[in-house]
């Protein structure tokens, strides 16, 4: 993923700011029939050769989903989704592993190239035999798991990670090779009946990443998953499960793109994190799904459930997200702070331009003593975008000494957009301390003037000020991502000034 930066540079200069990942790769795909019913759930499960318990688990989720109603409370508008008019399973057709890059489906390679994945990793991703066991030269290695539509196509640096006892693979593989871990943790943070989209995901999830960091291990490299929706009329339902055992530490990155289409596509993922005693998980997202065109046509509906459980004492979960894409974003990465002295963090930048809508925020549920949480949210609205921060800080009676600090700032660019803040604070503990502050303003004239006076164009000045506005969040990102995110911010806002 880090090399995406360079791609942005090159592509940005050519396309000057329109969506850069709007290509579709013509690869032989295998689809399940359109529509959603029990047979499709069975089909997916059978295709993945899943054990009986998982099929039962999926069917239960499907039965629950059928009784549930789509949430209407988010401050987003979209036409009703026809859940029967989509493919729930699409996978690139598997052929025997190619011997060298020359034999790889050139379409797939071109996709990787456009995504900016370096050659060595391309070889690994494409499944070239023998590739990928020696570390790349000259830079920090990043282990990548690429998920193409519904299926994880390849995971890099597996061997190196295995030496440390780290499991990093697609969740389908994990089901085959580590069923006990999957069974123990799957759905333990986000139960099947948690919400409409989580139930849907539980029934039809097709792939995603699985990470297990054993006791006391500090993961030697960044782990990364790259998601792409490629085929037409498909939904992507990936499921990610990360477990950090006692004293383990891991940093995980997630990136997303999709081709340009004038229809809307659904992305309903579930991410579950579990941190045991003294474990620490850092989860970073740069979400750049196709946002739709300037008139709001097309784009991804990004309805995602992300939640982490700080089960152990002194455990820590930190969410960082940069949300620039998607027609609609609906997600609330949350932390359940069960362990005493556990820590939850949420750093977010969400940009809406043109007709994009975002309703995002977090939930911090304090259960254990002396638990701490920090929420920093930066919302930027431009064009006709609507941006809502919605967050919950809940402190239960036993969470004595709990502490929360929340800051959400909104920036408005243009008079057609909206910025909304909806925080919920529920405190049932006397010794807890909760602080919340929120501001909404536009870019100050004097700041703009100062930059212009020094020769910056208005657009560059806005970019600079916006980056400053988001600095507290961007500095939380791993370095390679931070650079990419900064560029993305600037690109997302193009056309919104002047």
């Amino acid at each position: 993923m880090p090399a995406v930066t360079e791609t942005i540079d090159t592509v940005a200069s050519v396309t000057s700011g329109t969506y850069k990942y709007g290509f579709e790769t013509e690869i032989e795909m295998e689809f399940a029939p359109k529509g959603l019913n029990e047979d499709i759930v069975r089909f997916i499960s059978a295709r993945k050769n899943e054990p009986e318990w998982l099929l039962a688990w999926r069917l239960k989720a499907f039965a629950l989903w059928r009784t549930m109603e789509e949430p209407r409370w988010p401050a987003v508008k979209y036409p009703p989704i026809d859940y029967q008019d989509a493919y729930y399973y699409a996978a690139p057709v598997k052929k025997p592993g190619p011997k060298s890059l020359d034999e790889v489906d050139p379409e797939l390679l071109r996709t990787y190239e456009k995504l900016g994945i370096p050659l060595r990793e391309q070889a690994i991703l494409a499944g070239v035999e023998g590739a990928g066991e020696s570390p790349a030269e000259g830079r920090m290695p990043v282990a990548v798991d690429a998920v193409f539509d519904s299926v994880s196509v390849a995971t890099t640096f597996k061997g190196r990670l295995e030496k440390e006892g780290i499991i990093f693979c697609s969740i389908s593989e994990a089901v085959q090779h580590h069923p006990e871990l999957v069974r123990q943790y799957l759905g333990s943070v986000v139960p099947q009946a948690d919400n409409f989209f989580a139930a849907l995901n539980s029934a039809v999830f097709t792939d995603g990443s699985f990470v297990y960091i054993p006791k006391g291990v500090r993961c030697p490299m960044e782990l990364s998953t790259y998601f792409r929706i490629n085929a037409k009329s498909t939904g992507q339902f990936e499921r990610t499960l990360i477990i950090a055992d006692e004293g383990a530490t891991v940093s995980y990155l997630e990136g997303c793109t999709a081709p340009m289409r004038d229809e809307n596509q659904l992305h309903a993922a579930v991410v579950e994190l579990v941190a045991l005693d003294d474990a620490s998980i850092k989860y970073s997202t740069v979400q750049n799904w196709y946002p739709g065109d300037e008139d709001g046509k097309g784009g991804i509906y990004n309805f995602v459930t992300k939640r982490g459980a700080c089960r152990g004492r002194r455990s820590k979960i930190s969410w960082t997200q940069v949300e620039t894409g998607s027609a609609i974003t609906w997600k609330y990465p949350s932390c359940i702070l069960q362990g005493d002295e556990s820590v939850g963090e949420f750093y977010s930048v969400a940009i809406t331009n043109n007709h994009q809508q975002a309703d995002t925020g977090t939930k911090m549920i304090h259960l254990g003593r002396n638990t701490r949480s920090t929420i920093i949210s930066k919302g930027i609205s431009a064009g006709k975008g609507q941006n809502t921060y919605r967050g919950l800080v809940k402190i239960q009676p036993k969470a004595s000494g709990a502490r929360n600090f929340t800051q959400c700032d909104s920036l408005l660019i243009g008079d057609q957009c909206g910025a909304h803040t909806v925080p919920y604070i529920e405190n049932r503990c006397m010794t807890a301390k909760v602080e919340h502050e929120a501001t909404t303003s536009r870019i100050a004239e004097d700041q703009l003037f100062y930059c212009r006076q020094r020769g910056l164009s208005e657009e560059d000045a806005v970019g600079l000020i916006v980056n400053g506005f988001c600095r507290e969040v961007l500095k939380e990102l791993p370095m390679e991502f931070a650079v990419e995110a900064q560029k993305l911010l600037q690109i997302s806002l193009e056309g919104s000034v002047g």
Partner: protein, 431 residues
Amino acid sequence: MNAVSEPAVTEAGAAGFLHRFEGLRARLPGRGLPWLVERREAAAESFRAQGFPSRRVEAWKYTDLAPLTQAGFGEPLTPVESALPLPRPAAPRRVVLVDGRFSQDLSDPDAPVRSLARHLPELEGRLGALARVEDLPLVALNTALFEDGVLIDLAPGEDGGVIELLSVTRADRPVASHPRHLIRLGAGAKLVLIERSWGHGEGRYLHSPVFEVEVGEDAHVTHARMQQEGKGAIHLSTVFAEVAARGTYDSFLLHAGAKLSRSEAHVRLAGPRAAAHLNGAQLLGDGQHGDCTTFLDHAAPDCPSRQTVKTVLAGRSRGVFQGKIHVHQVAQRTDGYQMNQALLLSDQAEIDSKPQLEIYADDVKCSHGATVGELDEEQVFYLRSRGIPAAQARSMLIEAFLQEAVEGVTEEAARAALAEAVAGWWERMAA
């Protein structure tokens, strides 16, 4: 003097109130006015369709109306006891409502206040102009059932002085009253209204007033609201205020009494440079539930609004603050500020706070803040290190927290009345 006949207490829930409307409709004031009859019928229909709000309704997420919906209420009795003991007046001129009905005997004839029931024919097009019923079932219920209230009309430039509006309910029977109050200030007029809700006795009753306040250009209203209902009371009030250019609606809400209270304010800043202050304090002891909910609509440019609400919670109590600021696209250069603080004095208390900004204009400055916590032990330590006993130190700090809330009230008479109501609250609680 006692009642001529004892009207029955109706069945519980919405049905009870609807039956009461059926029984009363031919006797309610204004029954000869077609427009009012029509309005009441429509409101009753709206209430029938909506029912009492459940906690599934977002605006009622934190307040459960079970104490209201699970009990029956009756109609107030007609005769008024003239020997009713009343609290000491808070203003030189006072008007009194007993069980929701204007009491000529107990009211100061010099006050520019009239009984609403006697002037209904003049109110076509005005009554209900601000109070909407579609999504507010309690307002619908009030519109269907109101019997009386006050009517205050100030001519342009007139100074109405300081007036106390005292609503007394005798809690010896579970009565329900739904008074409607209409207040209008002409351009440049001025009024200080100290509104008190007072309960007589400890029994259960419902007091559910609705205010419609029209503030003309350059006019200024101070609305100090003191809810000091009886221990068993349910107090559900709704204020609608519309402020014209350069006018000010300056309100302060005190929740001190009642078992369950919720005060909703819907304020619309309709003209340029109109201002609103929606401050308040909730003092909640064991078994009390207080809910301060506000909707502030910035519908014109250059309007400032200020809101500071403080809640102190002792025993097993629950406090709610919901404040929404809506800035329309035309409302450029809005300056909105909202602060909400809560002090928890018991490990059985709960505070729920939902400040909310909804902004559609870009040249705005809006912020809100919320803090929740217990008394600062460092401050307690500071006082103790200077020889003040712990209990007294705590009491001083609580007192300071409360008085600070009241300090923002600029009108002296109103501030004094509020300060008095707040003073010694903690001593009374701790005793």
